[in-house]
Protein backbone atom coordinates (compact mmCIF):
# COMPACT_ATOMS: atom_id res chain seq x y z
CA UNK A 1 0.00 0.00 0.00
CA UNK A 2 1.38 3.37 -1.10
CA UNK A 3 1.98 5.82 1.71
CA UNK A 4 0.97 9.35 0.59
CA UNK A 5 3.15 12.08 1.98
CA UNK A 6 2.27 15.59 0.81
CA UNK A 7 4.33 17.14 3.58
CA UNK A 8 7.48 16.59 1.59
CA UNK A 9 6.30 19.09 -1.05
CA UNK A 10 6.57 21.99 1.40
CA UNK A 11 10.31 22.19 0.91
CA UNK A 12 9.77 22.77 -2.82
CA UNK A 13 7.25 25.58 -2.31
CA UNK A 14 9.45 28.29 -3.84
CA UNK A 15 10.10 26.14 -6.86
CA UNK A 16 6.36 25.60 -7.33
CA UNK A 17 5.52 29.26 -6.82
CA UNK A 18 8.18 30.21 -9.30
CA UNK A 19 6.76 27.78 -11.83
CA UNK A 20 3.23 28.98 -11.20
CA UNK A 21 4.37 32.57 -11.81
CA UNK A 22 5.86 31.57 -15.15
CA UNK A 23 2.69 29.66 -16.10
CA UNK A 24 0.39 32.56 -15.26
CA UNK A 25 2.64 35.16 -16.88
CA UNK A 26 3.00 33.01 -19.95
CA UNK A 27 -0.77 32.59 -20.20
CA UNK A 28 -1.30 36.34 -20.07
CA UNK A 29 1.17 36.82 -22.93
CA UNK A 30 -0.24 34.10 -25.17
CA UNK A 31 -3.86 35.09 -24.51
CA UNK A 32 -3.18 38.73 -25.41
CA UNK A 33 -1.04 37.89 -28.45
CA UNK A 34 -3.42 35.10 -29.45
CA UNK A 35 -6.44 37.42 -29.34
CA UNK A 36 -4.58 39.99 -31.41
CA UNK A 37 -3.58 37.39 -33.92
CA UNK A 38 -7.10 35.93 -33.92
CA UNK A 39 -8.61 39.37 -34.55
CA UNK A 40 -6.32 39.95 -37.54
CA UNK A 41 -7.02 36.48 -38.95
CA UNK A 42 -10.78 36.93 -38.42
CA UNK A 43 -10.83 40.22 -40.32
CA UNK A 44 -8.62 38.60 -42.94
CA UNK A 45 -11.07 35.76 -43.40
CA UNK A 46 -13.90 38.32 -43.85
CA UNK A 47 -11.92 40.51 -46.26
CA UNK A 48 -13.32 41.67 -49.60
CA UNK A 49 -10.14 40.43 -51.29
CA UNK A 50 -9.88 36.77 -52.12
CA UNK A 51 -6.09 36.65 -51.68
CA UNK A 52 -6.40 37.93 -48.11
CA UNK A 53 -9.19 35.48 -47.34
CA UNK A 54 -7.14 32.57 -48.68
CA UNK A 55 -4.10 33.61 -46.68
CA UNK A 56 -6.13 33.85 -43.48
CA UNK A 57 -7.71 30.47 -44.15
CA UNK A 58 -4.35 28.80 -44.73
CA UNK A 59 -3.04 30.22 -41.45
CA UNK A 60 -6.14 29.19 -39.50
CA UNK A 61 -6.25 25.63 -40.80
CA UNK A 62 -2.49 25.09 -40.56
CA UNK A 63 -2.51 25.89 -36.84
CA UNK A 64 -5.94 24.48 -36.01
CA UNK A 65 -5.31 21.12 -37.66
CA UNK A 66 -1.86 20.25 -36.33
CA UNK A 67 -1.05 19.22 -32.74
CA UNK A 68 0.28 21.97 -30.52
CA UNK A 69 3.05 19.72 -29.21
CA UNK A 70 4.35 19.23 -32.75
CA UNK A 71 4.12 22.98 -33.37
CA UNK A 72 6.15 23.74 -30.26
CA UNK A 73 8.91 21.37 -31.24
CA UNK A 74 8.79 22.54 -34.84
CA UNK A 75 9.06 26.22 -33.90
CA UNK A 76 12.05 25.59 -31.64
CA UNK A 77 14.01 23.10 -33.75
CA UNK A 78 12.87 23.42 -37.38
CA UNK A 79 12.12 27.13 -37.81
CA UNK A 80 15.66 28.25 -36.87
CA UNK A 81 17.05 25.97 -39.58
CA UNK A 82 14.53 27.15 -42.21
CA UNK A 83 14.53 30.86 -41.39
CA UNK A 84 17.98 31.16 -39.91
CA UNK A 85 16.73 32.85 -36.74
CA UNK A 86 17.86 31.66 -33.34
CA UNK A 87 15.07 31.63 -30.75
CA UNK A 88 15.05 31.10 -27.02
CA UNK A 89 12.67 28.35 -25.82
CA UNK A 90 10.46 31.07 -24.33
CA UNK A 91 10.16 33.01 -27.61
CA UNK A 92 9.55 29.88 -29.63
CA UNK A 93 6.84 28.57 -27.32
CA UNK A 94 5.19 31.99 -26.91
CA UNK A 95 5.07 32.28 -30.69
CA UNK A 96 3.69 28.79 -31.25
CA UNK A 97 1.06 29.04 -28.53
CA UNK A 98 -0.04 32.53 -29.61
CA UNK A 99 -0.51 31.43 -33.22
CA UNK A 100 -2.19 28.18 -32.18
CA UNK A 101 -4.58 30.04 -29.89
CA UNK A 102 -5.04 32.73 -32.55
CA UNK A 103 -6.32 30.19 -35.06
CA UNK A 104 -9.06 29.15 -32.64
CA UNK A 105 -9.81 32.69 -31.46
CA UNK A 106 -10.17 33.83 -35.07
CA UNK A 107 -12.93 31.31 -35.72
CA UNK A 108 -14.75 32.46 -32.58
CA UNK A 109 -14.40 36.12 -33.57
CA UNK A 110 -15.42 35.48 -37.18
CA UNK A 111 -18.43 33.47 -36.03
CA UNK A 112 -19.45 36.27 -33.66
CA UNK A 113 -19.23 38.90 -36.38
CA UNK A 114 -21.22 36.94 -38.99
CA UNK A 115 -23.87 36.05 -36.39
CA UNK A 116 -24.95 39.71 -36.28
CA UNK A 117 -27.98 40.29 -38.50
CA UNK A 118 -27.19 41.89 -41.88
CA UNK A 119 -29.87 44.46 -41.18
CA UNK A 120 -27.62 45.97 -38.51
CA UNK A 121 -24.86 46.89 -40.95
CA UNK A 122 -27.48 47.95 -43.50
CA UNK A 123 -28.96 50.33 -40.93
CA UNK A 124 -25.48 51.72 -40.23
CA UNK A 125 -24.78 52.14 -43.94
CA UNK A 126 -28.15 53.80 -44.49
CA UNK A 127 -27.25 56.41 -41.84
CA UNK A 128 -24.11 57.21 -43.85
CA UNK A 129 -21.56 55.25 -41.84
CA UNK A 130 -18.48 53.87 -43.55
CA UNK A 131 -17.97 50.08 -43.33
CA UNK A 132 -15.33 50.69 -40.67
CA UNK A 133 -17.67 52.83 -38.54
CA UNK A 134 -20.41 50.24 -38.92
CA UNK A 135 -18.01 47.55 -37.75
CA UNK A 136 -16.69 49.42 -34.70
CA UNK A 137 -19.90 51.18 -33.62
CA UNK A 138 -22.62 48.69 -34.50
CA UNK A 139 -21.42 45.16 -35.25
CA UNK A 140 -18.45 44.60 -32.92
CA UNK A 141 -20.09 45.84 -29.70
CA UNK A 142 -22.89 43.30 -30.24
CA UNK A 143 -20.61 40.54 -31.54
CA UNK A 144 -18.12 40.79 -28.66
CA UNK A 145 -20.92 40.15 -26.19
CA UNK A 146 -21.73 36.91 -27.97
CA UNK A 147 -18.07 35.90 -28.27
CA UNK A 148 -17.08 36.31 -24.64
CA UNK A 149 -18.10 32.86 -23.32
CA UNK A 150 -16.32 31.06 -26.16
CA UNK A 151 -13.26 33.31 -25.89
CA UNK A 152 -13.04 32.63 -22.16
CA UNK A 153 -13.35 28.92 -22.79
CA UNK A 154 -10.54 29.02 -25.34
CA UNK A 155 -8.40 31.03 -22.90
CA UNK A 156 -8.86 28.32 -20.29
CA UNK A 157 -7.58 25.81 -22.82
CA UNK A 158 -4.67 28.15 -23.52
CA UNK A 159 -3.85 28.25 -19.83
CA UNK A 160 -3.68 24.47 -19.69
CA UNK A 161 -1.73 24.29 -22.95
CA UNK A 162 1.11 26.23 -21.34
CA UNK A 163 1.94 22.98 -19.52
CA UNK A 164 3.38 21.76 -22.84
CA UNK A 165 6.16 24.34 -22.89
CA UNK A 166 7.98 22.17 -20.35
CA UNK A 167 9.12 20.03 -23.31
CA UNK A 168 11.26 22.98 -24.40
CA UNK A 169 12.59 23.38 -20.84
CA UNK A 170 10.66 26.57 -20.16
CA UNK A 171 10.52 26.60 -16.34
CA UNK A 172 6.73 26.62 -15.90
CA UNK A 173 4.80 24.85 -13.16
CA UNK A 174 4.94 21.45 -14.87
CA UNK A 175 8.65 21.73 -15.59
CA UNK A 176 9.44 22.72 -12.02
CA UNK A 177 7.33 19.91 -10.65
CA UNK A 178 9.26 17.46 -12.82
CA UNK A 179 12.37 18.76 -11.13
CA UNK A 180 10.74 18.33 -7.73
CA UNK A 181 9.47 14.85 -8.58
CA UNK A 182 12.88 13.65 -9.64
CA UNK A 183 14.49 15.17 -6.62
CA UNK A 184 11.98 13.86 -4.05
CA UNK A 185 11.06 10.54 -5.65
CA UNK A 186 7.47 11.58 -4.96
CA UNK A 187 5.93 12.03 -8.49
CA UNK A 188 2.39 11.08 -7.40
CA UNK A 189 2.17 13.76 -4.73
CA UNK A 190 3.86 16.28 -6.97
CA UNK A 191 1.57 15.85 -9.96
CA UNK A 192 -1.51 15.71 -7.76
CA UNK A 193 -0.45 19.05 -6.30
CA UNK A 194 0.06 20.44 -9.83
CA UNK A 195 -3.42 19.32 -10.89
CA UNK A 196 -4.89 20.97 -7.78
CA UNK A 197 -3.00 24.18 -8.51
CA UNK A 198 -4.38 24.36 -12.11
CA UNK A 199 -7.90 23.62 -10.93
CA UNK A 200 -7.66 26.12 -8.07
CA UNK A 201 -6.97 28.89 -10.58
CA UNK A 202 -9.41 27.76 -13.27
CA UNK A 203 -12.50 26.83 -11.28
CA UNK A 204 -13.08 30.36 -9.94
CA UNK A 205 -12.58 31.63 -13.48
CA UNK A 206 -15.16 29.26 -14.93
CA UNK A 207 -17.64 30.30 -12.24
CA UNK A 208 -17.05 33.90 -13.28
CA UNK A 209 -17.66 33.04 -16.94
CA UNK A 210 -20.86 31.18 -16.15
CA UNK A 211 -22.12 34.10 -14.12
CA UNK A 212 -21.26 36.47 -16.98
CA UNK A 213 -23.17 34.29 -19.44
CA UNK A 214 -26.25 34.41 -17.27
CA UNK A 215 -26.07 38.15 -16.98
CA UNK A 216 -25.73 38.46 -20.74
CA UNK A 217 -28.68 36.18 -21.35
CA UNK A 218 -30.79 38.56 -19.29
CA UNK A 219 -29.79 41.71 -21.19
CA UNK A 220 -30.36 40.21 -24.66
Amino acid sequence: MYQWDFGILWSYRWLFLNGLGVTVGFTVVIVVCGLLCGLIAAFGSLSRFKAVRTLALIFIEAFRCTPILVQLIWFYYALPILAGVEMTPITASALALSLYGGSFYSEIIRGGIVSIDRGQSEAGAALGMTPRQTMTRIVLPQAIKRMIPALMNQSIIQFKNTSLVSVLAVPDLVYQSQVAAHDSYRPLETYTAVAVAYAAILIPLTILVRRGEKRMAVSE
Binding site: D117, G119, Q120, E122, A123, A125, A126, L127, G128, M129, T130, P131, Q133, R137, I138, P141, Q142, K145, E220
Partner: protein, 264 residues
Amino acid sequence: MSDTPKIEVRSLRKSFGSNEVLKSISLDVAKGGVVALIGPSGSGKSTLLRCINLLVVPDGGSVRVGDTRFEFGTGARLPDVKTLARFRATTGMVFQHFNLFPHMTTLRNVMEGPVTVRRMPRADAEKLARAQLAKVGLSEKADQYPATLSGGQKQRVAIARALAMEPDVMLFDEATSALDPELVGEVLNVIQQLAAEGMTMVIVTHEIAFAREVADRVVFMRDGVVVEEGPARQVIDTPQEAAMRAFLSHFHRTGALPPATAAS
Protein backbone atom coordinates in the same frame (compact mmCIF):
# COMPACT_ATOMS: atom_id res chain seq x y z
CA MET B 1 -36.71 74.93 -59.21
CA SER B 2 -39.38 72.33 -58.57
CA ASP B 3 -39.29 71.45 -62.26
CA THR B 4 -36.29 69.19 -61.82
CA PRO B 5 -37.26 66.09 -59.86
CA LYS B 6 -35.61 65.49 -56.48
CA ILE B 7 -35.03 61.85 -57.34
CA GLU B 8 -34.35 60.73 -60.88
CA VAL B 9 -33.82 57.08 -61.76
CA ARG B 10 -33.01 56.21 -65.37
CA SER B 11 -32.99 52.79 -67.08
CA LEU B 12 -31.94 51.05 -63.92
CA ARG B 13 -30.97 47.40 -64.23
CA LYS B 14 -30.11 44.89 -61.54
CA SER B 15 -29.64 41.12 -61.59
CA PHE B 16 -28.95 38.72 -58.77
CA GLY B 17 -27.18 35.90 -60.53
CA SER B 18 -29.32 34.90 -63.50
CA ASN B 19 -32.40 36.48 -61.93
CA GLU B 20 -33.05 39.87 -63.52
CA VAL B 21 -34.83 41.82 -60.79
CA LEU B 22 -34.97 45.27 -62.38
CA LYS B 23 -35.36 45.60 -66.15
CA SER B 24 -34.61 49.16 -67.15
CA ILE B 25 -36.67 51.06 -64.61
CA SER B 26 -37.11 54.81 -64.68
CA LEU B 27 -38.68 56.84 -61.90
CA ASP B 28 -39.03 60.51 -61.03
CA VAL B 29 -39.97 61.90 -57.65
CA ALA B 30 -40.73 65.60 -57.45
CA LYS B 31 -39.44 67.69 -54.55
CA GLY B 32 -41.91 67.15 -51.74
CA GLY B 33 -43.54 64.36 -53.67
CA VAL B 34 -44.65 61.05 -52.22
CA VAL B 35 -44.43 58.01 -54.46
CA ALA B 36 -45.80 54.64 -53.41
CA LEU B 37 -44.26 51.54 -54.97
CA ILE B 38 -46.72 48.68 -54.97
CA GLY B 39 -46.79 45.26 -56.51
CA PRO B 40 -46.62 41.57 -55.67
CA SER B 41 -43.63 40.22 -53.77
CA GLY B 42 -40.68 39.55 -56.02
CA SER B 43 -41.68 42.41 -58.30
CA GLY B 44 -38.43 44.28 -57.58
CA LYS B 45 -39.91 47.21 -55.66
CA SER B 46 -37.70 46.74 -52.58
CA THR B 47 -34.63 46.33 -54.79
CA LEU B 48 -35.53 49.55 -56.61
CA LEU B 49 -35.85 51.34 -53.28
CA ARG B 50 -32.49 50.00 -52.12
CA CYS B 51 -30.90 51.14 -55.36
CA ILE B 52 -31.97 54.73 -54.65
CA ASN B 53 -29.61 54.96 -51.65
CA LEU B 54 -27.23 52.42 -53.19
CA LEU B 55 -27.60 49.80 -50.46
CA VAL B 56 -27.89 47.67 -53.58
CA VAL B 57 -25.49 48.71 -56.32
CA PRO B 58 -27.24 48.65 -59.71
CA ASP B 59 -25.71 46.95 -62.75
CA GLY B 60 -26.69 49.69 -65.17
CA GLY B 61 -28.49 53.01 -65.52
CA SER B 62 -28.23 56.07 -63.31
CA VAL B 63 -29.51 57.37 -59.99
CA ARG B 64 -29.67 61.00 -59.00
CA VAL B 65 -30.79 62.36 -55.64
CA GLY B 66 -30.58 66.14 -55.32
CA ASP B 67 -27.29 67.16 -56.90
CA THR B 68 -25.54 63.83 -56.59
CA ARG B 69 -25.65 61.56 -59.60
CA PHE B 70 -24.21 58.06 -60.09
CA GLU B 71 -23.78 56.17 -63.34
CA PHE B 72 -23.61 52.39 -63.46
CA GLY B 73 -22.76 49.87 -66.10
CA THR B 74 -19.84 49.01 -68.30
CA GLY B 75 -17.01 51.49 -68.01
CA ALA B 76 -18.54 53.33 -65.05
CA ARG B 77 -16.40 53.19 -61.94
CA LEU B 78 -18.08 52.07 -58.75
CA PRO B 79 -18.19 54.84 -56.15
CA ASP B 80 -15.76 54.38 -53.24
CA VAL B 81 -16.94 53.77 -49.69
CA LYS B 82 -16.47 57.39 -48.56
CA THR B 83 -18.54 58.77 -51.45
CA LEU B 84 -21.23 56.19 -50.82
CA ALA B 85 -21.33 56.99 -47.11
CA ARG B 86 -21.62 60.74 -47.73
CA PHE B 87 -24.41 60.13 -50.22
CA ARG B 88 -26.36 57.83 -47.92
CA ALA B 89 -26.16 60.38 -45.11
CA THR B 90 -28.55 62.56 -47.14
CA THR B 91 -31.14 59.83 -47.65
CA GLY B 92 -33.04 58.36 -44.71
CA MET B 93 -34.20 54.78 -44.80
CA VAL B 94 -36.68 52.83 -42.70
CA PHE B 95 -36.61 49.04 -42.83
CA GLN B 96 -39.26 46.37 -42.56
CA HIS B 97 -37.57 44.83 -39.52
CA PHE B 98 -36.66 48.18 -37.89
CA ASN B 99 -32.97 47.27 -37.52
CA LEU B 100 -32.61 49.33 -34.37
CA PHE B 101 -29.29 48.96 -32.58
CA PRO B 102 -30.16 46.67 -29.65
CA HIS B 103 -27.08 47.63 -27.59
CA MET B 104 -28.09 51.29 -27.41
CA THR B 105 -30.95 53.07 -25.71
CA THR B 106 -33.61 54.66 -27.87
CA LEU B 107 -31.99 58.05 -27.42
CA ARG B 108 -28.53 56.73 -28.36
CA ASN B 109 -30.02 55.03 -31.42
CA VAL B 110 -31.28 58.38 -32.65
CA MET B 111 -28.05 60.18 -31.68
CA GLU B 112 -25.80 57.65 -33.42
CA GLY B 113 -26.04 59.11 -36.93
CA PRO B 114 -25.43 62.74 -35.98
CA VAL B 115 -22.57 61.85 -33.59
CA THR B 116 -20.74 59.28 -35.71
CA VAL B 117 -21.44 60.50 -39.23
CA ARG B 118 -21.91 64.25 -38.83
CA ARG B 119 -19.46 64.60 -35.92
CA MET B 120 -22.01 66.65 -34.02
CA PRO B 121 -21.14 67.49 -30.38
CA ARG B 122 -22.97 65.12 -28.03
CA ALA B 123 -25.02 67.83 -26.34
CA ASP B 124 -26.33 69.11 -29.68
CA ALA B 125 -27.00 65.59 -30.91
CA GLU B 126 -28.94 64.80 -27.77
CA LYS B 127 -31.09 67.90 -28.17
CA LEU B 128 -31.75 66.95 -31.80
CA ALA B 129 -32.50 63.34 -30.89
CA ARG B 130 -34.93 64.31 -28.14
CA ALA B 131 -36.73 66.61 -30.57
CA GLN B 132 -37.06 63.78 -33.10
CA LEU B 133 -38.30 61.37 -30.45
CA ALA B 134 -40.88 63.95 -29.37
CA LYS B 135 -41.96 64.25 -32.98
CA VAL B 136 -42.77 60.54 -33.20
CA GLY B 137 -44.38 60.70 -29.75
CA LEU B 138 -41.81 58.66 -27.83
CA SER B 139 -40.09 61.20 -25.58
CA GLU B 140 -40.78 59.11 -22.50
CA LYS B 141 -39.04 56.06 -24.03
CA ALA B 142 -35.67 57.81 -24.50
CA ASP B 143 -33.81 55.78 -21.90
CA GLN B 144 -35.27 52.38 -22.72
CA TYR B 145 -33.67 49.72 -24.85
CA PRO B 146 -35.35 48.70 -28.13
CA ALA B 147 -36.11 45.20 -26.76
CA THR B 148 -38.64 46.74 -24.35
CA LEU B 149 -40.64 48.52 -27.08
CA SER B 150 -43.58 47.32 -29.16
CA GLY B 151 -43.15 46.88 -32.90
CA GLY B 152 -44.91 50.13 -33.66
CA GLN B 153 -42.76 52.01 -31.16
CA LYS B 154 -39.60 50.44 -32.60
CA GLN B 155 -40.54 51.57 -36.07
CA ARG B 156 -41.25 55.09 -34.86
CA VAL B 157 -37.81 55.17 -33.22
CA ALA B 158 -36.34 53.97 -36.52
CA ILE B 159 -38.07 56.86 -38.29
CA ALA B 160 -36.73 59.30 -35.68
CA ARG B 161 -33.24 57.84 -36.17
CA ALA B 162 -33.45 58.44 -39.92
CA LEU B 163 -34.87 61.95 -39.46
CA ALA B 164 -32.06 62.90 -37.07
CA MET B 165 -29.73 62.94 -40.08
CA GLU B 166 -31.98 65.66 -41.53
CA PRO B 167 -32.23 63.84 -44.86
CA ASP B 168 -33.44 65.32 -48.16
CA VAL B 169 -35.51 62.24 -48.93
CA MET B 170 -36.95 59.35 -46.95
CA LEU B 171 -37.23 55.79 -48.19
CA PHE B 172 -39.63 53.35 -46.53
CA ASP B 173 -39.13 49.65 -47.19
CA GLU B 174 -42.38 47.93 -46.17
CA ALA B 175 -42.26 49.83 -42.91
CA THR B 176 -45.48 48.30 -41.59
CA SER B 177 -45.26 44.75 -42.96
CA ALA B 178 -43.74 43.25 -39.80
CA LEU B 179 -46.23 44.92 -37.45
CA ASP B 180 -49.27 43.53 -35.71
CA PRO B 181 -52.36 44.99 -37.41
CA GLU B 182 -53.29 47.18 -34.44
CA LEU B 183 -49.85 48.83 -34.49
CA VAL B 184 -49.83 49.75 -38.18
CA GLY B 185 -51.81 52.94 -37.69
CA GLU B 186 -49.36 54.70 -35.37
CA VAL B 187 -46.54 54.25 -37.92
CA LEU B 188 -48.63 55.32 -40.90
CA ASN B 189 -49.65 58.33 -38.86
CA VAL B 190 -46.04 59.46 -38.55
CA ILE B 191 -45.43 58.90 -42.27
CA GLN B 192 -48.50 60.89 -43.13
CA GLN B 193 -47.33 63.72 -40.91
CA LEU B 194 -43.99 63.75 -42.77
CA ALA B 195 -45.81 63.89 -46.09
CA ALA B 196 -47.79 66.88 -44.84
CA GLU B 197 -44.52 68.61 -43.92
CA GLY B 198 -43.34 68.28 -47.51
CA MET B 199 -40.76 65.52 -47.12
CA THR B 200 -39.84 63.82 -50.38
CA MET B 201 -40.61 60.14 -49.92
CA VAL B 202 -40.62 56.82 -51.69
CA ILE B 203 -42.72 54.23 -49.92
CA VAL B 204 -42.77 50.52 -50.66
CA THR B 205 -46.01 49.34 -49.12
CA HIS B 206 -48.78 46.80 -49.12
CA GLU B 207 -51.16 49.28 -47.49
CA ILE B 208 -53.12 50.17 -50.60
CA ALA B 209 -55.61 52.40 -48.79
CA PHE B 210 -52.71 54.28 -47.23
CA ALA B 211 -50.95 54.67 -50.57
CA ARG B 212 -54.15 56.05 -52.06
CA GLU B 213 -54.50 58.51 -49.19
CA VAL B 214 -50.94 59.75 -48.73
CA ALA B 215 -49.06 59.25 -52.00
CA ASP B 216 -49.29 61.69 -54.92
CA ARG B 217 -48.28 59.01 -57.35
CA VAL B 218 -48.44 55.25 -57.37
CA VAL B 219 -46.07 53.04 -59.31
CA PHE B 220 -47.19 49.46 -59.85
CA MET B 221 -44.36 47.02 -60.55
CA ARG B 222 -44.36 43.41 -61.63
CA ASP B 223 -41.46 41.17 -62.66
CA GLY B 224 -38.97 44.01 -62.65
CA VAL B 225 -40.88 46.45 -64.84
CA VAL B 226 -43.28 49.31 -64.20
CA VAL B 227 -46.68 48.11 -65.35
CA GLU B 228 -48.71 51.17 -64.53
CA GLU B 229 -48.13 54.52 -62.87
CA GLY B 230 -49.98 57.74 -62.33
CA PRO B 231 -51.80 59.86 -59.76
CA ALA B 232 -52.52 57.69 -56.72
CA ARG B 233 -56.32 57.87 -56.66
CA GLN B 234 -56.67 57.48 -60.38
CA VAL B 235 -54.39 54.42 -60.57
CA ILE B 236 -55.97 52.71 -57.59
CA ASP B 237 -59.59 53.57 -58.31
CA THR B 238 -59.52 52.99 -62.05
CA PRO B 239 -56.60 50.75 -62.93
CA GLN B 240 -56.01 50.30 -66.65
CA GLU B 241 -53.84 47.21 -66.74
CA ALA B 242 -55.24 43.72 -66.12
CA ALA B 243 -52.28 42.81 -63.89
CA MET B 244 -52.88 45.86 -61.72
CA ARG B 245 -56.59 45.05 -61.47
CA ALA B 246 -55.81 41.46 -60.48
CA PHE B 247 -53.36 42.65 -57.82
CA LEU B 248 -55.72 45.26 -56.39
CA SER B 249 -58.57 42.75 -56.15
CA HIS B 250 -56.81 41.36 -53.06
CA PHE B 251 -57.19 44.62 -51.13
CA HIS B 252 -59.80 46.99 -49.82
CA ARG B 253 -58.76 50.01 -51.79
CA THR B 254 -60.80 52.76 -50.27
CA GLY B 255 -62.17 53.23 -46.83
CA ALA B 256 -60.53 54.93 -43.92
CA LEU B 257 -56.96 54.48 -42.80
CA PRO B 258 -56.45 52.10 -39.88
CA PRO B 259 -58.11 53.26 -36.64
CA ALA B 260 -55.19 55.08 -34.99
CA THR B 261 -54.94 57.49 -37.89
CA ALA B 262 -58.66 57.92 -38.30
CA ALA B 263 -58.99 58.89 -34.64
CA SER B 264 -56.36 61.62 -34.71
